[in-house]
Symmetry: C2
Subunit: 214 residues, 2 copies
Amino acid sequence: MTTPADPDPQPAGPPTRRRPGGRTARVRAQVLDAVRAELGEHGYDGLTVESVAARAGVHRATVYRRWGDVGGLLADVLDAAGDDDWRPPDTASLEDDLTALNQEIQDAMSARPSVMAALIAASFRSEKAAEAQQRLWEDRYTRCEIVVARAVARGELPPRTDARRLLIAATAPLYHQLVLLRTPPDPHLPRSAARTAALAGAAGAFTEPPPSGP
Amino acid sequence: MTTPADPDPQPAGPPTRRRPGGRTARVRAQVLDAVRAELGEHGYDGLTVESVAARAGVHRATVYRRWGDVGGLLADVLDAAGDDDWRPPDTASLEDDLTALNQEIQDAMSARPSVMAALIAASFRSEKAAEAQQRLWEDRYTRCEIVVARAVARGELPPRTDARRLLIAATAPLYHQLVLLRTPPDPHLPRSAARTAALAGAAGAFTEPPPSGP
């Protein structure tokens, strides 16, 4: 659900009469494309302002001035990834919505190269990237809350179900296995984790307030 | 549950008649203590063979010869952490066992400095550390399978419950929030995540074979 997308298509309009922001937006798109490509091919260690500038066909002074350093480039890629119109799946079933969401995560993490996996790894190297990664996840989980609200409205979940806790429970096993345990993608896991969260949610595991004792 | 422990107490016996392995074991303990201390204080970027050797009071040639590089040092700290007699909690209740397990994880991750958090971060920097981290997790999850077996024996879970899937579901939200989302520790989360996994397990979410379709 956090697949980076290009937020900067070239502005429409006749090339002889660009809007003032056109060149700036075009340079940003070229540079962020180059960051994603370099990151996917070489990982964080191969990522330099120089290699990004060369690949983007942009003067490196421009990159330094606008992005500062590699951390600034990574943060902008992550911020750009959140600047899209992504919406969570709507299949009319909580388990199926969560399964489709998990499948998106697993597909993005399993791509070769996976820009998403490289960005998560980079967030352990750069504080700016870590903060941008947090902003992106916060935005994605907020957008997904509608999945829970729809399930409550359909009667699949009790009222006052805590959407965020349910969404974390549904998606955390994917991230844990793929990012931390580094196990190969399990084709059953997207549905299994979704079903677990849906079952627990239906049984009241995420109704507020959170449990405080035995 | 992966709190690094010192596996190398100084061998007992009169100091004038050490066993042949005594000095080797003592040097290892000193060096690994130094790695943990440097890692906790300065993180991966401040960790060098030189700083570890100086802190341990060991010649740096000894460290290079035995551990090779920083990755080798980190891998040995992780391998040493698994070389203990840790056992999972046994409270006679699945939810309480999993809650106590999660509390151990949260406490280790929230310590300041947290060697565990620093080791996880380092696993994104060093392939050797990543492999050792995987071995440690694999060992810890295997040791925890008894928690599920006992719950099945008590009738809290259906027979043929997949222990690993249940344990991942119970612990993944902790790791996801603390390591990836980098949210402050939530005092309710250890029990909340445990209860979710226990509820889903009782409802049959982890009985084999895994679900394969809607």
